[in-house]
């Protein structure tokens, strides 16, 4: 009865509470004009800070060194990479998994948060999507590089030929090729479709060759009601496809390992463990790029601290999920009946590979707890260092999945100790970081990194919400 009275009669306290609402934690300034949003983002395409060119040319130099290493390996064979039995994959496949994983948070941030209407994603999802695309392009390179004979990559690609020779469709390697191809195609289309309204803005403000490019790519978009309605349905549908796809892609990558009988790999929790790891490393890179882009392109008004705070919280939550699954993996081996797997786990912790293992534990398990400290969350240089450490830890994690299993397999006569990758492997891995950074920076210079129309929507919705609460 009292409950009914409370709703029928206006409650003074309730009104008082609503009026006390202070918008101190707004994700974005509600008073920023739409014209200003266009101006700020378009300016980033013309005049970034000089540091942009420093990063771009440094990345280019790194990439050139990687190309040199790859050519050297191509001319002299995989021996120069110190790849031989039993260590046949080395850093290449570890780094392949690392790059595949890095792309996952782009989809998470963009698709999942779009589906659940988390508006704070709007100023930052575009670069995360671009990161996904370039990560996949980088990952695909390692599949070719680790073969040595790069021209034989078509063994895993299904194409009709006169001898009716098809790849083995029951092999996870063929699943990999299909899954990565699907993910790359879908991510590119998702990125492009979501960018069309912004490309029209660029078209309306550009001249010369850029105008031609944007006119071609914006497909004549005019922002009509029918175009917007179609766009909304398309974008939501693509987001719904992208989420399960992202999960399936990294699950399939993990299946490469999990379906084998090798110690340390034959674990049923591998697919979710890989997906969590992928999201974790992707989120830390998103934080790194957030800080970088915010500074280089002067995006302080859009890449705001409240948004960064939400991103950090998400990263911490995913880090805890990953830690849990990591623990589950080791517990399964420890309490299982497979003595060889158990010995291999001990070797990981105390043997040749202990520095990699404990390095991973420090960087990926201990370091996320620093995110609970307010100073780390708010001091951008410190946060950037922490995010890079987290990501380095995830790279070590990929190495400690692969290398110990090859070095401490089922048969004692294959056991090796003291394996260390050659400079060629390190050079190619470093080159891949140069390649990624170069492509990413180039993208940021040509295409809008912040979704202008969605930031406008955000400002519009925020003003409406505040008006309804009687604050504005």
């Amino acid at each position: 009865m009292s409950h009914m009275i409370k709703h029928d009669v206006p409650d003074d306290n309730e009104i008082h509470i609503e009026k006390k609402f202070v918008p101190k934690d707004l994700d974005i300034d509600k008073d920023v004009s739409w014209a200003q949003i266009n101006k700020d983002v378009l300016r980033s395409l013309d005049r970034p800070r000089p540091i942009f060119w420093v990063i771009f040319f440094a990345a280019m130099a790194l990439f050139s060194f990687g190309v040199y290493c790859e050519k050297y390996q191509y001319d002299n064979g995989l021996g120069v990479a110190d790849l031989n039995n039993p260590q046949v994959w080395g850093l290449y496949i570890a780094t392949f998994i690392f790059w595949i994983g890095m792309g996952h948070s782009g989809t998470l941030l963009s698709a999942l948060l779009h589906i659940i209407h988390a508006d704070w994603r709007k100023p930052i999802y575009r670069y995360a999507e671009a990161m996904t695309t370039f990560s996949l392009l980088t990952a695909a390179l390692f599949v070719l590089i680790h073969l040595g004979r790069v021209w034989q990559f078509y063994y895993v690609v299904a194409y009709p030929n006169e001898r009716w020779v098809w790849p083995n469709f029951s092999s996870p390697l063929v699943w990999d090729a299909t899954a990565i191809g699907t993910y790359l195609t879908s991510s590119l289309l998702f990125l492009y479709t979501g960018m069309v309204p912004d490309l029209a803005i660029c078209r309306d403000n550009a001249t010369g060759a850029r105008k031609k490019l944007y006119t071609f790519m914006s497909l004549g978009w005019q922002g009509t009601d029918r175009q917007w309605a179609t766009f909304r349905v398309t974008y939501m549908t693509l987001a719904c496809f992208l989420m399960p796809l992202a999960v399936s892609v990294h699950s399939i990558v993990s299946t490469d390992f999990a379906v084998s009988q090798n110690p340390g790999w034959h674990i049923t929790s591998f697919p979710p463990y890989f997906v969590a790891g992928a999201l974790y490393s992707g989120c830390s890179v998103i934080i790194t790029l957030f800080i970088l882009l915010r500074y280089v392109f002067r995006f302080e008004a859009y890449m705001t601290m409240p948004i960064l705070n939400k991103l950090i919280k998400m990263t911490f939550a995913i880090a805890m999920v990953w830690n849990y699954l990591n623990l589950i993996e080791y517990s399964t081996v420890w309490y299982g009946a497979n003595e060889i797997a158990k010995q291999q786990l001990l070797d990981k912790m105390t043997g040749t590979y202990a520095p990699v293992f404990w390095g991973m534990v420090f960087c990926s398990t201990v370091m996320p707890f620093t995110l609970l400290i307010k100073f780390v969350r708010t001091h951008l240089p410190t946060l950037m260092v922490v995010s890079i450490i987290l990501n380095f830890g995830m790279w070590l994690e990929r190495i400690q999945i692969i290398t110990p299993t090859f070095g401490h397999s089922q048969y004692p006569w294959t056991w090796t100790s003291g394996w260390w990758p050659s400079w060629v492997q390190f050079g190619i891995v470093a080159g891949s970081f140069g390649w990624f950074t170069m492509l990413f920076m180039l993208y940021c210079k040509i295409f809008p990194t912040i979704s202008m129309y969605e930031v406008k929507e955000m400002v519009h919705d925020q003003s409406k919400m505040l008006k309804a609460k009687g604050v504005a």
């Binding site: 469709f169 029951s170 195609t185 005019q222 009509t224 917007w228 398309t234 496809f241």
Partner: protein, 174 residues
């Protein structure tokens, strides 16, 4: 002969009032079907005033999600079946569980491709572009494009002006 008029507005409220008035005014050779809103962001509140305008993307998606897995499974299974005379050690020639993985990937790929194709067709892009456009629409203005008989154009022009349009662009249809 029908002509086009495009009026620009500073805010959604004014644009909404124009649509209401256009809806209530009976003019020869004019219906709300001939009104198009152009805006920098989606305005569902304004679009509602235009009446129901269906979106057909979902149909393309449906075709995609049906076509993809069927084609994928057929491709994979028929490739495996081409080895039917080989000894498979007692295992099935066409193993269904592992084939489901690729069927799933084809399901997604085909769904995505058909959705995007449906979107481009729904946009009527590239090619069929609306005749009047102002670049301020991509910045912060809301445009209302109307197609009507020449005799009704002055009345519509008056409605636009009455609601403080920033600019009116007109073009006679050839």
């Amino acid at each position: 002969m029908k002509s086009y008029l495009l009026a620009l507005y500073n805010n959604m409220e004014e644009a909404g009032l124009v649509l209401d008035e256009l809806n209530n005014t009976k003019l020869p050779g004019f219906s709300m079907k001939d009104v198009v809103i152009k805006s920098p962001i989606e305005h569902p509140e304004l679009s509602e005033k235009l009446g129901k305008r269906p979106v057909y993307v979902q149909l393309f998606t449906l075709v995609g999600v049906l076509f993809g897995p069927i084609t994928g499974l057929t491709l994979v299974a028929s490739a495996q079946a081409s080895f039917i005379y080989q000894i498979r050690g007692g295992r099935p020639v066409v193993p269904i569980p592992p084939d489901m993985v690729l069927t799933y990937e084809f399901f997604i790929l085909s769904g995505v491709l058909m959705t995007v194709i449906g979107c481009f067709i729904g946009w009527k892009l590239p090619g069929n572009r609306s005749p009047l456009y102002n670049t301020r629409v991509s910045e912060d203005k809301i445009g209302i494009l109307v197609k009507a008989e020449d005799t009704s154009i002055p009345v519509i022009n008056e409605i636009f002006k009455k609601h403080h349009s920033l600019e009116i662009l007109g073009e006679e249809k050839k």
